[in-house]
Amino acid sequence: MISWPNLVSQLFNGLALGALLALISSGLTIIYGTLGVLNLAHGAMFMIGGYAGFVTYQYTESFILAVIAGSLFVMLLGVVMERIIIRHFYHRPHEDQLLVTFGLGICFVEIIRLIFSSQSQLVPPPALFQGITNLGFMFYPTYRLAVVGIVAIALGALFIVLYRTRLGMIVRAGIEDSVMVDSLGINIYRVFMVVFGIGAMAAGFAGIVNAPVVSLTPGIGDDILVQTFVVVVIGGVGSFPGAILGGLIAGEIISVTSMFNPGYAYVMLFAAMTLVLVVRPHGLLGVQGRE
């Protein structure tokens, strides 16, 4: 029997989870769409964002500074990673890219484990968003409500960068045809570096924003990576709006299925992904014809 308060609660919960997945997936999909690199270290970037923010919080006790530091640190890490390693793999087979990024992800996790051990680390939500809010039809953690808003703002900022700036125009052109962009005299490799940094930053930002919701452990990025890939496939690889749509769909599937039988949440998620692949092989908003 369906309990309406529970259904509404779960739908709302799905929105909160979906927003987060959308943000992380948008970083992944921008990197793939522009550079053609499937970054399996993206989950580790999400985790490192959380830890970098945690360290900053320890010293400053400021959540805002923690968010800024977590995001910037991961962006810097992304840029360094792109310059030193990833750029050598642009013209290599996809398997090589997968293995090298997966290996980097493992290294990052083990380094964090070495420094912080496996024990959970807590970052409390900012005082403004502590406690529980009565929405009339249900009670919901205030900070989780805030996360929906924070993520929406972040996605909006990302949208403006991608669709309203010259850099965004070049990036989107690069997604379509990087050779043509290069031949127009734009240093596409410098753009690639920036794109990798922005994509990584999206994961890092999500990592620290999500830290008060789930306590930090080194393995926190593992599960999110799998979900993120599903989101990208559902939405369409390389599509920014697709990542948002895919994230919201995935969040709702996980939450609503959990209401009836949590054990089937992932089953339904993968079933939905399979269905999308059968009906629309390029994802819901994916670009047809892209290699």
């Binding site: 997966f102 807590l122 529980i132 900070y143 306590s215 939450s255």
Partner: protein, 444 residues
């Protein structure tokens, strides 16, 4: 999942994390001469023909049980160190121990099981075939313990179980070659159930958070069975996979279930995360929390959310006031590792100390002889007083300690998380040895 498949293929870290002992062990001659006139069985006598004996250890060092696995490993390492040097504490438990076991220095290898049965079995299979491990251990997940039980019986190598709370471990999946020191989930239920009825009353509604494997299902079943006798009902049972990244959906179901008490059966990081999120969703303001099988480090990791919460546990360090051996252990452990030991370390230490005692009593590493030494069922010392192993199911009969989380203002130091409410003698808590369908296998 995709990343799991890839990880397995890439062989993450565990199997390579063997100590120098691994090399030492592998250099043993294949078919040595041996003084005793006993038929070869398992890795005996090949594994103990030199001056050393090798132990295969598999604990989770990654994944949701990593923190507890590391604690367990520290307990094993301290026990091996103490056995090899003939430490006073080991002599209290195993008086015949001088240096090493039967004069042989213990070496060991460590593999990361990630709390996954197949990884643990693969690692131990290697320790058995390449290092001629004379004893294997592991746990922290009962699914791992059950899998290693089967391996031990098949290979005729002793399995001294680490952390494992499932009723199945020495119940329906018991084996002749397996022994367990920490108690059944059913024992925990029998110990904490009366405390809950006394504290919260009869006829209450309980919501359960259950991890989806043998430990979770058997502990939940035992709690449900016991509390039904006091008229308690189950409002909802939320079953989550190991390592669930988010418990919000489960907790919304719990919050809307109308339960009076939340019984969190989760373990490791799952318990920490689900408890923290239960607080976030206001569940802990609506209902009381009980953790029937206490999780090492949960009090410090949840940052005070265990205040006022009841739990059943194997060990809490403040019992050192009553048990001198516990005091010796705490001091040695804290000196080496810099913090008070939790029950994973205690469980590991005692399990090895008991194994050393049984080998010394048997006067041999010959597995059937060592098993028969355990099966005498003698009363022997442990850190929580005298205990014995039941010959029928190889389960240690030992007290259960009921703790209650201290309020912050009452904490005397930063590790003073719990009050010991009661130390319940094991004998009265135990079900009959065959209650869970245990049929031990053969000796040979």
């Amino acid at each position: 999942m995709t990343d799991d498949l890839i990880r397995r293929g890439l062989s993450r870290r565990g199997l390579l994390q063997t100590t120098a002992g691994l090399i030492g062990g592998s250099m043993l001659p294949a078919m040595p001469a041996f003084a005793e006139d006993k038929p070869a069985i398992g890795t005996y006598p090949a594994g103990v023909s030199g001056s050393t004996a090798f132990i295969g250890i598999s604990v989770p060092r990654t994944g949701t049980y990593a923190v507890q696995g590391e604690d367990e490993l520290k307990g094993y390492q301290l026990a091996i160190e103490h056995i090899n040097e003939g430490h006073d504490l080991i002599k209290k438990i195993s008086p015949k121990t001088s240096k090493g076991v039967l004069g042989k220095e213990l070496k060991f290898g460590v593999a990361d099981s990630a709390a996954k049965p197949n990884e643990a079995v693969q690692a131990q299979q290697r320790f058995i075939s390449e290092n001629k491990a004379i004893m294997i251990t592991g746990g922290t997940s009962s699914a791992v313990a059950v899998a290693l039980n089967k391996l031990a019986q098949r290979e005729h190598v002793l399995f001294v179980c680490g952390i494992s709370g499932s009723n199945d471990t020495t119940g329906k999946d018991c084996v002749r070659y397996g022994f367990r020191q920490n108690f059944f989930g059913q024992t925990a239920a029998a110990a904490i159930g009366p405390v809950m009825v006394r504290e919260f009353g009869k006829g209450k509604k309980a919501a359960y958070l259950t991890p989806d494997y043998t430990y979770g299902h058997t502990v939940t079943k035992s709690m449900q069975d016991f509390l039904a006798t006091a008229g308690w009902t189950t409002a909802t049972n939320q079953v989550a996979p190991l390592g669930a990244p988010d418990y919000s959906s489960y907790l919304l179901n719990v919050a809307n279930s109308g339960a009076d008490v939340l019984i969190n059966v989760n373990w490791g990081h799952d318990a920490v995360l689900s408890t923290q999120q239960a607080k976030q969703f206001g569940v802990l303001d609506k209902m009381k929390l009980v953790v029937p099988y206490q999780v090492p480090f949960i009090a410090r990791e949840t940052g005070g959310l265990m205040q006022g919460v009841y739990a059943a546990t194997d060990y809490w360090w403040t019992i050192e006031d009553k048990f001198p051996l516990a005091k010796m252990f705490n001091e040695a452990f804290e000196k080496k590792y810099g913090y008070k030991p939790e029950w994973g370390a205690e469980n590991a230490y005692v399990s090895f100390a008991h194994w050393a005692r049984m080998c010394e009593q048997a006067g041999s590493f010959n597995p059937p002889d060592v098993i028969k030494a355990y099966e005498k069922g003698e009363t022997i010392p442990s850190l929580v007083g005298d205990v014995h192993y039941r010959p029928e199911d190889h389960q240690c009969v030992r007290p259960v300690i009921i703790v209650k989380g201290k309020q912050q203002k009452d904490m005397k130091n930063k590790e003073d998380w719990y009050d010991v409410v009661e130390i319940v003698p094991g004998e009265g808590l135990m079900q009959k040895p065959d209650a869970f369908g245990c049929h031990l296998g053969d000796y040979t």
